[in-house]
């Protein structure tokens, strides 16, 4: 009895993923012992560096600014990519015309467009948002299209035999059936947005987590680079968890898991 209980607790601890974190810190600490703080700062040094950044408010501002950009680019991307994906998935002709673009550009990473976007959209916010937008739309479109195309044909026929026309069937059968795939696209889009924030903020930015990482190299503040990296990871981790939570709560009827 007692042993079983202990086993259960152990399993819970394992499942929480905490082991990975402990392992990471241990290896990091061990590795850092062999190098200078400028080359590879240890956890403690990084934490102190981070504390300094938090204290003067810089990190808070950076996070806020980056988040705002991510959310802007991501939302704009969703607003564009979901409807377009639905249309391409639903109408064969649209598919023939637009899918080649999709299958071409989705292999060109956002980072390849940095200079061009700077040129086209200027040094202000729009170039950064545009870059994130670009990173978001492809995973969202590809997944949305896949979702539409995997709709159970029998459901469509059932809807039509009950008297629904094409448009009604589209909104009451095709779209709801595609929700799980669309949601996967939305999640991938978010991770794409966060991943590309560093690239976006390398372009003439003066604030943001990406800016922090990029400029810290100029001062040899390796601990700040580490701080930035962890911040990004944590932001992504939390954002995805939140999104999953929202999905489970509001979209469970569409079999989102």
């Amino acid at each position: 009895m007692e042993r079983k209980k202990q086993g259960m607790i152990l399993l819970k601890v394992l499942k929480s993923g905490i082991v990975a974190w402990i392992l990471l810190v241990l290896v990091w600490r061990f590795g850092a012992a062999f190098y200078t703080d400028d080359f590879l700062p240890g956890p403690w040094v990084t934490l102190k560096g981070a504390a300094a950044l938090v204290a003067d408010g810089a990190l808070g501002t950076d996070i806020l600014v980056s988040l705002l950009r991510v959310i802007k680019g991501w939302l704009l991307g969703l607003i564009f990519a979901i409807p377009v994906g639905l249309l391409i998935g639903n109408f064969k002709t649209a598919g023939y015309i637009f899918e080649p673009f999709l299958n071409f550009f989705r292999f060109v990473p956002a980072i390849g467009f940095i200079t061009l976007f700077l040129l086209w959209f200027g040094v202000g916010e729009s170039s950064k948002v545009a870059l994130i937008f670009y990173a978001v739309i492809f995973p969202v479109m590809v997944n949305t299209i896949a979702g539409v195309r995997s709709v159970d044909e029998a459901l469509i026929e059932a809807s039509e035999s009950l008297g629904a026309n094409k448009a009604r069937t589209f909104f009451t059968v095709v779209v709801p059936s595609a929700v799980p795939n669309i949601f996967t696209g939305v999640r991938l889009g978010l991770s794409g947005a966060i991943t590309c924030i560093v690239a976006a903020e390398m372009l003439a930015a003066s604030e943001g987590v990406g800016y922090l990482i990029y400029t810290s190299r100029l001062y040899y503040r390796t601990d700040w680079i580490f701080t930035g990296i962890f911040t990004l990871g944590i932001i992504g981790f939390i954002a995805d968890k939140l999104l999953q939570l929202v999905g489970r709560k509001w979209l469970c009827r569409f079999a989102v898991r």
Binding site: L155, E157, A164, N165
Partner: protein, 355 residues
């Protein structure tokens, strides 16, 4: 005729899924399309629903030519083999789907949903989702959904195929009663003979895209008209090359070289029994005896032939090697095109004798 198909043809590429299919269904009847897998049953049903379009021929519903009427406007209830319930809608949402399209009032929809759920024996399950139902319950919801729009014709594609054997039997009877109560003309597809015979008023036997025979279950069972039907219905033993001549009471029929013999027409008694038509019986030996609960399934050897028979268990029973007397009361001979019912001649003379 309420439903009428005239010379329907349909090909998928080079493959002819329907060949010159013609039949009619009277209003209020429950008809089964029965045939082996791939014989074109679903194709016929889908063309009737307007989900598929025939290459040639006409379909009439209630006297109206519907060739160019779309699925949406055919007013047909279709129950899919996989049920095709909308997983993201509740039971009530599913049943209401068609009524909402018809712009029924909220109150009317609510009442109808309630009425239908009572009718199909699932009261109170309005707010469940399909994945919270058993297979049989989903089937019933699919049925209620199809009936909700008061279709002029109900089509069911293998409605019980995905349900386990025991529940299936219950559902069959339930469906028959329900359809009678609602009074809707219905056609259902099945490849299960027992199901077709038990449920349908009339059978349409399909084979390789053609209609082989149409008739009441009794009629088709007693008098198969084509070689296919003679062999397909029941669990017949097939004899070739005029072998049936070796059975006492049957003469060679020129042209019809094959015969189908069903176990229920083969009477077997222990060798020492008294029998009614002694000159119709042959001497034989039990080759196999399989216990089937209430009866024995026998294979008997008679004049070099192996025949199957059912034997109702009495006190003695029979076992392998026992000598028996065997009487074949009827069989079906057939040639390339037609099947004929032949009665044992000693029975016929017997009748004359005793009258």
């Amino acid at each position: 005729m309420y439903i009428e198909l005239k010379n329907i043809n349909k090909s998928f590429g080079n493959f002819k899924a329907s060949q010159d299919v013609s039949f009619g269904v009277e209003k209020g009847k429950l008809v089964a399309l029965l045939g082996p897998s791939g014989s074109g049953k679903t194709t016929i049903l889908r063309m009737l629903a307007g989900l598929e379009h025939q290459d040639g021929g006409d379909i009439y519903i209630d006297g109206k030519l519907v060739n160019d009427v779309s699925v949406q406007d055919r007013e047909i209830g279709f129950v899919f083999q996989s049920y095709a319930l909308f997983p993201y809608l509740t039971v009530a949402g599913n049943i209401a789907y068609g009524m909402k399209i018809k712009k029924k009032s909220r109150q009317e929809i609510e009442e109808k949903v309630k009425y239908l759920l009572n009718l199909v024996g699932l009261p109170g399950l309005e707010s469940r989702y399909p994945d919270q139902l058993s297979g049989g319950q989903r089937q019933r919801v699919a049925f209620a959904r199809a009936l909700a729009t008061e279709p002029q014709l109900l089509l069911l594609d293998e409605p019980f195929a995905a349900i386990d054997a025991k529940v299936r039997k219950e559902l069959r009877r339930w469906l028959k009663e329900l359809i009678e109560e609602v009074g809707v003309t219905s056609i259902f597809v099945t490849h299960d003979q027992d199901e077709a015979v038990e449920v349908a008023d009339e059978l349409i036997i399909t084979n390789e895209g053609r209609v082989e025979q149409i008739g009441t279950p009794f009629d088709i069972y007693r008098n198969p008209k084509t070689p296919f039907v003679a062999q397909f219905i029941g669990e017949s033993v097939i004899l070739r090359d005029y072998e049936y001549e070796k059975i006492r009471g049957y003469k060679k029929q020129e042209g019809a070289s094959s015969a189908a013999i069903r176990p229920e027409f083969v009477k077997v008694v222990p060798a020492d029994s008294d029998v009614e038509y002694p000159n119709g019986y042959m001497d034989g030996v039990v080759a196999h005896a399989d216990f089937r609960g209430s009866n024995l399934e026998l294979t008997v050897e008679v004049n070099g032939l192996e025949l199957k028979a059912e034997y109702v268990l009495d006190e003695k029973g029979l076992k392998k090697g026992d000598p028996v007397k065997v009487f074949v009361s009827r069989l079906y001979t057939f040639d390339e095109k037609n099947a004929y019912t032949v009665i044992n001649s000693s029975l016929q003379t017997g009748e004359i004798y005793y009258i």
